[in-house]
Structures are given as C-alpha cells and as structure tokens.
C-alpha cells in the first residue's frame, strides 16, 4: 500500500478544521528553512531559534487569513522576513539608545570594547562565511539566503514583495560583495579557482 505525505494545502485544511496537531506537519516540513533564513538574517543562533518559534506561532495565529494565492512556504518566508527586519530594527534602536544615554567618553570606550569582543569572538567561533554574509544589507541578504536555499526568483520576489528584476539585480550585487569579502578571508582558495585551466 502506498502512503503519500499530505500536501501543505491538505495540512492547512486540517488545521482550519480544528486539527491543531496537523500544524506540526507543517512545522516539521519548513522548520529547517526558516531557522536557516533567521540564522543568516540575525547572525545569532539563540535569536534565530527564538525567532523561528515566533514565526511559526504567528503563522498559526494568522493561518485563517492565508489566501492561497501563493504557496505556504512563500507566505512563511514573508512572515520570517518581516519578523527578522523588525527584530533587527528593535535591537539596533536599543543599542543606539543605550549608547545615546552614555556620556561621550563612556560611549567611545563601550564601542571600542564591543569591537574588540566582536573580533575575539569571530576569531574563536564565527565562520568567515557568516561574517561575509553579515556584511550584506538586509534586503540583499534575504535574497541571497533564499537563493542559497534553492528558492526560485519568482518565489523570492513574491515573498519579499519585489519584482523579479529587482531579485536579479540584488543577487548580482550581493554576489559581488560576497566575492570580495570571501577573497579577503580566503585569498588562496579564490585565487586557485581563477588559475584553473
């Protein structure tokens, strides 16, 4: 007997009919992509895990408003992108406010010590590729991450609410920036590619 897994649409129907447990099927299917996206957007594992939970809870709460004019994953990416952007805005605002509240000398000291701590932490654990990714503006980063996850241009455009041409342009620019950053971190590897006959 053949057993086929229910599609996203079938699972959504079951959730809407009151079967909450069916939502776990949707979470299992999409959690890896969402956490990968959040990790690349937020550059912090704990924050990415928390954000992923929050995104799925938001999706569950709003599932009755899912209009099915796009796929569930497109809709989920849209929620994830908005959530990550608002988290980044919030954290940068808190950081700026705490710096603003300090006297000038303390502010400079804090910024210098943060930079030192960052470079030590990076040297110890953070991967160079993550640092290269972190150098991208958030719009470019979102496009790049989705592309790396194998999402096609059309779905990226729908998820982020931009045109396909804009996706192409952002990808091209993101790759230029990433190439330069990776050449900086891995000069040997990138030059070997160029020397290949």
């Amino acid at each position: 007997m053949l057993f086929s897994e229910p599609s996203d649409t079938e699972l959504i129907d079951e959730v809407l009919n009151g079967d909450t447990d069916s939502f776990s099927g949707l979470v299992t299917r999409h959690q890896q992509k969402v956490i990968g996206f959040c990790l690349s957007m937020l550059s912090n594992r704990q924050a990415a895990e928390d954000a992923t939970q929050e995104i799925f809870v938001k999706a569950f709460t709003a599932i009755s408003g899912f209009r099915r004019d796009s796929s569930f994953s497109t809709w989920l990416y849209r929620i994830a992108f908005n959530h990550c952007c608002s988290l980044r805005k919030k954290s940068s605002k808190i950081h700026m406010e705490s710096l603003d509240a300090m006297p000038n000398q303390d502010r400079v000291k804090t910024m210098v010590s943060n930079a030192k701590y960052q470079s030590e932490a990076d040297g110890g654990s953070a991967l160079a590729s993550e640092k290269a990714m972190a150098a991208l503006p958030e719009g470019y980063r979102a496009v790049m991450v989705m592309r790396l996850q194998g999402v096609d241009y059309r779905t990226i455009a729908l998820s982020l609410g931009i045109s396909e041409d804009s996706v192409r342009a952002k990808l091209r620019r993101a790759r230029v920036i990433l190439r330069a950053r990776l050449r900086h971190f891995f000069p040997d590897l990138m030059s070997k590619i160029s020397e290949k006959p």
């Binding site: 979470v27 890896q32 956490i35 690349s40 594992r45 790396l148 192409r168 990138m190």
Partner: protein, 153 residues
C-alpha cells in the same frame, strides 16, 4: 557581442533560471569561454561556503511551537472578545472630559442644552460652596452665558 550576452547569463544559468534552449546555448558557450567557466566555478564554491543553516539546530523548534500552539488553544475563546472591553468606554469618557474642559475654558461653545444645564448646575454648587466657606470664587456664570451666546473670547 554575442559572447558578452552569454557571459551575462552565467548567474541565471547557475541558478537554473533560463529557458531550456538558453541553458543549452550557455552550456555550449562554456566549452569555449574560460572566463565564464571560472565565474561558474566561483559561484559553485561560494554556494558551498555560504551553505545556510550551518550549525542551526531545528530539533527543538517543533515541540516548542506545538506546546505554545496547544496553550493558545486551551485558553478560553471569550478571552479575546472581552480583552479590550474597557477601551471604548474609556475613550468615550476621556472625550467627554476633554469636550467639557474646552467648553469651560472657552475654546468651544456648548453644543447642547443639556451640557449647558450641567455646567449651570455646576455653577450652582459653586455658589453653595462660596456660601458655606465664605470664599468668593470667580463667577463663571456670566462667562458661561457669554459662551452660550457665541462669544468664545
């Protein structure tokens, strides 16, 4: 010219975003263009290096999300209906207070007879207050009469 045209499509070729006939065209071009081969190799290396979700642990996500979802489901449904019940009366009361203050201060003219009566009765209580405590408060009755006649000043 056609060479450049092909070179521009390498990224789209790598991403699988070209039509089948274009894919074949670029595949043919790659056999002759070393620069494009290098670009393609670089794109592949970049993709491997930047592979997302390295180290991201998704195992805890599903149980945590489902626990929160079940907790939401077990909450009584009328909660959401009554959760903001106090907002409408609070806004209405605040609006009334602001309106009354504006009329009292002379920024607005009293729009209804009942409001004028209310303010009038307030003046009565002022008079009793001054009788009992012997304090002469500013007589606002005349001011109110002027306000009702349309003299906002």
């Amino acid at each position: 010219m056609k060479q450049n045209h092909h070179c521009e499509k390498i990224e789209a070729y790598h991403d699988g975003e070209l039509r089948p006939e274009e894919m074949l065209e670029i595949a043919g071009h790659l056999t002759t263009c070393r620069k494009c081969r290098e670009t393609l190799a670089e794109l592949k290396v970049m993709e491997t290096m930047l592979a997302p979700a390295r180290g991201a642990d998704a195992s805890s996500i599903r149980p945590a999300v489902m626990a929160r979802v079940r907790a939401m489901q077990s909450q009584p449904r009328y909660g959401s209906f009554f959760s903001g019940w106090w907002k409408a009366p609070a806004i209405a009361l605040a609006s009334c207070a602001v309106y009354a203050i504006c009329v009292e201060m002379g920024f607005l003219s009293a729009g209804s007879a009942s409001l004028a009566a209310t303010l009038g009765s307030y003046k009565e209580s002022e008079r009793v207050y001054s009788m009992i405590f012997g304090i002469r408060r500013p007589d606002n009755e005349n001011l109110l009469a002027m306000v009702l006649q349309g003299d906002n000043q």
